[in-house]
Amino acid sequence: MEPKLNELSEAIKAGRRKEAKLATEELLAAGVAPEEVMSALSAGMDDVGRRFKANEIFVPEVLVAARAMQTSMNLLEPVLLSVGSEPEHTVVIGTVEGDLHDIGKNLVAMMVKAANFKVVDLGTNVSPDAFIAALREHRAAVIGLSALLTTTMPAMRRTVELIRESGVAVKVMVGGAPITQQFAQEIGADGYAPDAASAVDEAKRLIARTAA
């Protein structure tokens, strides 16, 4: 079955959703473990993330790959659930209050999902209270905050402050066009990712650090 798994990875890399769907159907029908299918998806998106980070591909290519992945996930998720296979960790994600931009946040959500995290996407213009409520509800290990506007950077700072005050144990990572490592440190975030692919590495790093 290995060639078919490989085919699925390749379909994801190229963003070919019809092929991705077909390969997923065939793999599941042949009784391949859903975790193995998930690994093939992850391998495909991992490669997409790597090329995105290296400036070899850009937002449209990532979006089209993510759409192919989602087509496959729609078939795969019910099967994963039925065998009791759930992601180990949850990431809550959203764009901070006052900011309506979502392309970057969506890219991060898709990449993180492909890396086999459960993703709770709260959307855009999310209040600190809504973030904190979601953290409590989903017992998330990591929260990802996004801001595109320089003017919503203070809202990001306030969200981090309120999360800390709430006492919820979570690792906070931040990103978005105007955000820098320096700003992330200043506002007391645990991690910073300059792009969607790095966000996956950063989430893994933060979780490893919590476990250690």
Binding site: V59, T180, Q182
Partner: protein, 455 residues
């Protein structure tokens, strides 16, 4: 040459006596007159009054009249979410579920807020049109297409190759109408602002985005005006493709290496500009940060003609006016430029342990440290040193004047340890007393007496 003439010459790629300066005052205009962005972007009176203030404060060679990439989208049926400190955001995409252009309302420059922007252009033309070049900013085709159809446009590039050129060409048609209205109202430069270009690669740019942009640039050129392609965001990978379009000028954001753009623009025979850092420097930094960053832009741009000093993108609402004023005066003053070039780095791990400053309280004489660029080569520094020496001898008590030049380690060490805020600066017994001002003799003598009393 007037500032406007310098700017227009630079935009044409000619050598100019100094770099022209175009602060992109958008919503920041609101903060200058105490209005939020929502009120500001809906009033011609507010825009005119703020830009008159911006002219007086920032001595610009050119100014954008309004920096709002939602003007056209609003007329075309996108809903807007207004904000206090930013231009409105588009919150609905009328073509999201299908790319049927006939569904859109008919576009006209007499609809929405466009008439008030054009009124502001006409009034500003009368107020300052001789001295300051006015930029008319319109929404670039890719960005307008994203407003209308959402990020589906980016997926269409893979699935529906025919719909993308049709939609982008439609957006170019809107842009040409905007350009005509702006030029009729009196703007000097048409800026096609297409920040979404920073999100795609050169392949998609050349296939889909360059042709509609070229249609706009050709249109502007046929009307005898100049065009600039503004890309906010990281456009590094597209610089060569952008330089291959038929615009006159390329303006880029802070993530682009200005030295790389200078080379690419020179090879393509285009003028270029940018890219002061908006947040870290202009919004959150101080005047010296702004000066350092202006020097960075100017030095990276190098000696190629046609450089326009500007922020990377729309200035943040609450940007500090003094930071822009620092840039404005530096552009006109080679001396200040030279001082800024010698400023130590912001994060300087050098603690200058080898430069020992005296224990002032233990010195018998009052010590006057004058921190200068170099009094031999700079007039303000020479006057300051002379004023200090004259005051010291008129004072009558024990006083000693020491010059520290920041062209060397000694001066930099003193600058850091005495926390000097400007050059030239006079410190009396280790405390900065007169920063960037030549004091009146009696004031300086009073300061010396004060210091002597503290001993």
């Amino acid at each position: 040459m007037t500032g406007k003439e310098i700017l227009m010459a630079a935009l044409r790629g000619s050598k100019t006596p100094r770099a022209p300066w175009v602060p992109f005052v958008g919503v920041h205009g609101g903060s200058l007159i105490g209005l939020d962005a929502t009120a500001y972007l809906q009033s011609a009176d507010a825009i005119v009054s703020a830009l008159k203030q911006a002219r007086d404060l920032y001595q610009p060679d050119g100014l954008p009249v309004v920096f709002d990439l939602q003007l056209e989208a609003e007329v075309l049926g996108c809903q807007l979410a207004w904000a206090r400190e930013t231009p409105p955001s588009v919150s609905s995409h009328p073509l999201q579920s299908g790319c049927d252009l006939s569904q859109l309302p008919a576009f006209s420059t007499e609809k929405g807020r466009i008439p008030l922007v054009l009124e502001a252009v006409r009034r500003l033309k009368t107020e300052m049109g001789d001295a300051v070049a006015l930029y008319g900013l319109l929404t670039g085709p890719l960005t307008l297409a994203l407003h209308l159809r959402g990020d589906e446009v980016l997926l269409d590039m893979f699935d529906d190759e025919d719909s993308v050129p049709e939609l982008l060409d439609y957006c170019a048609g809107i842009a040409c109408q905007m350009a005509d209205a702006y030029l009729d109202a009196g703007v000097d430069v048409i800026a096609v602002v297409d920040p979404m270009i920073s999100q795609i690669g050169p392949g998609h740019f050349s296939t889909y985005v360059a042709p509609p942009n070229n249609r706009i640039f050709d249109h502007v050129r046929a009307r005898g005006a100049l065009s600039s392609l503004f890309v906010c965001g990281n456009a590094t990978r597209n610089l060569e493709a952008m330089a291959a379009t038929r615009c006159d000028n390329i303006s880029v954001d802070e993530n682009v290496d200005m030295a790389a753009l200078a080379r690419i623009a020179a090879a393509a025979g285009k003028s270029f500009g940018g890219n002061l850092q908006l947040t870290v420097v202009l919004l959150l930094g101080d005047e010296n940060d702004a000066r350092r960053d202006a020097v960075r832009c100017l030095d990276q741009a190098g000696s190629s003609p046609g450089f326009v000093l500007a922020p990377g993108c729309d200035l943040p609402f609450a940007v500090k006016p003094e930071n822009l004023q620092a840039v404005a005066s530096l552009v006109r003053d080679p001396y200040q430029l030279q001082v800024a070039r010698n400023l130590p780095a912001k994060v300087d791990s050098d603690d200058f342990a080898d430069i020992e400053i005296p224990d002032y309280s233990a010195e018998l004489a009052v010590i006057v440290d004058v921190v200068t660029l170099d009094s031999a080569g700079c007039a303000p520094c020479a006057y300051t040193v002379k004023a200090a020496q004259e005051a010291a001898s008129a004072y009558g008590g024990a006083a000693e004047v020491r010059e520290h030049k920041i062209t060397g380690r000694d001066g930099l060490g003193y600058m850091k340890k005495l926390q000097v805020t400007a050059i030239p600066s006079i410190c009396v017994d280790g405390r900065e007393a007169f920063a960037s001002i030549i004091p009146d003799r009696k004031d300086l003598i009073a300061a010396l007496r004060c210091a002597a009393d503290r001993k």
